[in-house]
Amino acid sequence: MNLRRDVFQAIADPTRRMILLLVASQAMTAGAIAANFNSARPTVSKHLQILTECELLEQQQRGREIYYHLNPEKMKEIADFVEPFRKLWEERFDKLESIMKNYKSKK
């Protein structure tokens, strides 16, 4: 298994992006994060481990609980973050165009 983790590898996964989204507004425990997913708890733990290893998430001990929060500095490293968003819309619009072209010819 490749132990070298970089931010792009980390955000390539939809579940991990969802985790980042969840902790974007407030620090959460592993349990609270896992409650948002149907995946098994160890799967979510694995994702948390990867995100922590690449420093997108930071751990903070509060009493007995460990809270995960977003590391804004590391998030800034994701420089060209507009491109995946653009691609998402390009895909949708391409689909829209082809559907409507068929729609037109069927009429």
Partner: protein
């Protein structure tokens, strides 16, 4: 070749613009935003509600094969001008982002070409950037079936 879809997100601002030209008459482009069955096809999400009129509401939902809800979004339509303009709010449910405002303007270029200009306004610059960085992952939940297919295919290689 220049990409067809352009996204302009200026540094420090709290909005962004998405523009795209279509080889479609403006009436057909507009229809793709109004007809629930068509929206479902290109957005890849289920349309629970889509009241295309002033003060109408909308709600989209995506579930996996087991019926678990992966993505849910809703909003209200503030302005609706046939073949010209839709102004609406957009809120992703279960996400820590506040509602965003969307202006969609449809322009006729010729009889079979049209343009869409979409402006999305977020509560703050930070929220806009976070949404761009990780919101794509949420939106991709919409294309979960497609993603799964890609995963299976990539494993076969």
């Amino acid at each position: 070749m220049e990409p067809k879809t352009k996204v302009n997100a200026e540094d420090g601002k709290q909005d962004l613009r998405i523009t795209r030209e279509f080889e479609l008459p403006v009436e057909l482009l507009f229809k793709a935003y109004v007809e629930p069955q068509i929206v479902e096809q290109w957005m890849g999400t289920k349309v629970i509600k889509l009241e295309s009129k002033k003060h109408g509401g909308w709600k989209f939902q995506t579930s996996d094969q087991e019926g678990n809800v992966l993505f849910q979004a809703n909003g209200v339509i503030h302005e609706f001008i046939q073949d010209e303009k839709i102004t609406r709010t957009f809120e992703m449910e279960g996400a820590p982002f506040e509602v965003q405002l969307e202006y969609l303007e449809f322009t006729k270029i010729s009889d079979d070409r049209s343009k869409l200009d979409m402006q999305i306004i977020y509560r703050s610059n930070d929220i806009r950037d976070q949404m761009l960085k990780v919101g794509v992952g949420m939106a991709k939940g919409i294309n979960m079936a497609h993603n799964r297919l890609e995963e299976i295919v990539s494993k076969l290689k």
